[in-house]
Symmetry: C2
Subunit: 359 residues, 2 copies
DNA sequence: ATGAAAGCGCTAACAC
DNA sequence: GTGTTAGCGCTTTCAT
């Protein structure tokens, strides 16, 4: 019976209702619920009554109202560049980002930027005040660089902090919120190969990408340290992080120059190279030892041979980047983050097979 | 000079300002900008003036204010279950989801649910009115099933539509917004193996997951069609989508029963199986032909041998699912979506090597 | 064809 | 210690 109310949508509880229930005013409720500075001026008993009422009624603040009133949105926007080419690394980072954001009371908006189109979303989200900060991830290519610049401009205009996750975005004012030690990784990888006795180590890199260039510097540093000259003929620098090119370039290299090992700046490229080397008739690691970079959880340990690679702490860097961004939003001091990386030994480098498959 | 205004934050333009600029009232501006039904009552010239002013001033509506006023949020929440185990499939789907959502003026909130913790975020986002609809993706495991149920309950209480992306969530009221034809995929894969002359085809599946079970049904259907009896001894049903288990189970199977081919319900599991088969001394495809499922863009073509697999249209299913969810939100009629899948022929099934590496 | 005005739910400056 | 009240920017009903 209780006619009226043709369709009963569970009414959202408002502050007013809980104020009434607790016999106080909205203000008091607001102070209590937000633990606002004025909370000191609220008696313990009132506080308790309010909290209780809020709980009983199942209160949740309305985000829009709060946002309208405070001017904040308590959300950040994650922009993924060229998501097409990203896999677990992206997912891992996203998990880390979200984990920290959640702990700080922020929610996560997401948008992707691939070539065209997507741009507008980004601007709308930012301009409509849906985000208090922006986190960039992925890596911009030639197509997306203009977009990247527009994004930076927009964020600056709006006074919204913007930070990059794990990669330098050259030529932009974007600060890297959390980076990993790409150079050290490249050095560890290369040094390990050198320890295995190799002196002609090929390098498969990507030109123009900060992370790849750093890894390459690590490769050079390892040579320097060992007193081995680097031979530029052993370099292949792709114009883009592209597997097909990696395959072809490696095939060509294997047929034209002499080398007994190879450091590849990413696992995704490494599998392509592995495939090309096999096509060139080489057996790994006997005819060519290999080390990659990233340690993709799902795929890298099941290559043939299992790939020795530098572990990239995706989750951790996402977490740290979010942390930095939140500091920026709150105008708190921030310290640069450089996460260490380390080598995961499997068989492609020439190390012996592990006893169990457990790694 | 121009003292005052110590820090100049580009003032957000409001409707009032554009109203003033155009010499009309807020109401008119709102009507024009939203193309509201009353737009018919706005003279073309006024309309143009308003539009022009809005453009000149670089106006963007404030999302919070609009949301507070309309009760909508123009955003949907994507919940990713067990994101740990997802890679490109997730990214592909997310891209699809976002592509459609953007076209409809929705923004995307994201949160993950892994074991513990994350739950709260979810509820907060929903209860604080930040989302008009929920899209579930990933697959719930035993740990996360309770969370899943809580989520469904919450969404229902709030009257917020909730839909699943590409997988049935057994025992919940969640409707599948866009599914792919897992069964047909399993059948195509198996039939192809049968055409290659195999009659003892092992199956590596996952128990309790809708998608995996469907793929298995396809395997059985193919046998039935070919008049080949299925031998349950050839089945391995993992309790979870776990590569280590897949490796071990396959190794054991290879050593205990006789089979000349294998259908594996996912590429991730397939690489583990491939590795195990090699460890058991088999050469592929000669000693064992293999077909997987998913066609991971980055990894599946560089396995050794290149993996023949069923292409899973991740992007498309994300797109379609978002489409359905939007229909649900708008209370428009919806039609079930079942995307077709097809086999990608490479070499692990025994087919000849392609002329170029181009696929 | 257009405008006035009443909210939407919350915050915070200011009174008491 | 606690309450009043004036917005925040937008939508929408109802006048005109």
């Amino acid at each position: 019976m209780a006619a009226r109310r043709t369709k009963w949508q569970k009414r959202k509880v408002t502050m007013l209702e809980i104020a009434t229930a607790a016999g106080v005013s909205k203000t008091t409720v607001s102070f209590v619920l937000n633990n606002s500075p004025n909370i000191i001026a609220i008696s313990e008993s009132t506080r308790r009554r309010v909290l209780e009422a809020a709980k009983d009624l199942g209160y949740s603040p309305n985000a829009a109202a709060r946002s309208l009133s405070t001017g904040r949105s308590d959300a950040i926007l994650v922009v993924v560049f060229d998501s097409r080419s990203w896999d677990q690394s992206l997912v891992g980072r996203l998990r880390g980002v979200e984990a920290h954001l959640v702990s700080q009371g922020y929610s996560t908006h997401m948008c992707t930027v691939d070539g065209e189109g997507g741009t507008s979303t980004f601007f709308e989200i930012l301009r409509s005040g849906r985000a208090d900060g922006v986190l960039l991830t992925g890596s911009a290519t030639q197509d997306t660089y203009p977009v990247l610049h527009a994004i930076c401009g927009q964020a600056e205009d709006l006074g919204i902090p913007i930070a990059a996750l794990a990669d330098a975005w050259l030529g932009t004012p974007v600060r890297v919120a959390a980076d990993i030690d790409d150079e050290s990784g490249g050095e560890q990888a290369t040094s390990h190969l050198i320890e295995h006795g190799h002196s002609r180590i090929a390098l498969l890199g990507v030109a123009g990408q900060g992370w790849a260039e750093s890894r390459k510097r690590g490769y050079e540093a390892a040579h320097e340290k060992a007193g081995i000259p680097v031979d530029p003929h052993l370099f292949v620098q792709l114009d883009d992080h592209n597997q097909t090119w990696a395959y072809e370039a490696t095939l060509k290299l294997a047929r034209s120059v002499d080398f007994s090992a190879m450091f590849i700046v990413s696992d995704a490229l490494a599998v392509a190279a592995l495939s090309a080397l096999k096509a060139a008739g080489r057996r790994m690691p006997e005819d060519c030892a290999i080390v990659g970079f990233d340690n993709n959880e799902t795929w890298s340990k099941f290559t043939d041979p299992p790939l020795t690679t530098v572990h990239n702490p995706f989750y951790e860097s996402g977490f740290a980047a979010a942390e930095t961004l939140v500091h920026m939003i709150r105008r708190e001091p921030i310290k640069p983050v450089l996460l260490p990386v380390s080598l995961v030994f499997r068989e492609s480098c020439g190390c012996q097979r592990k006893v169990s498959q457990e790694q």
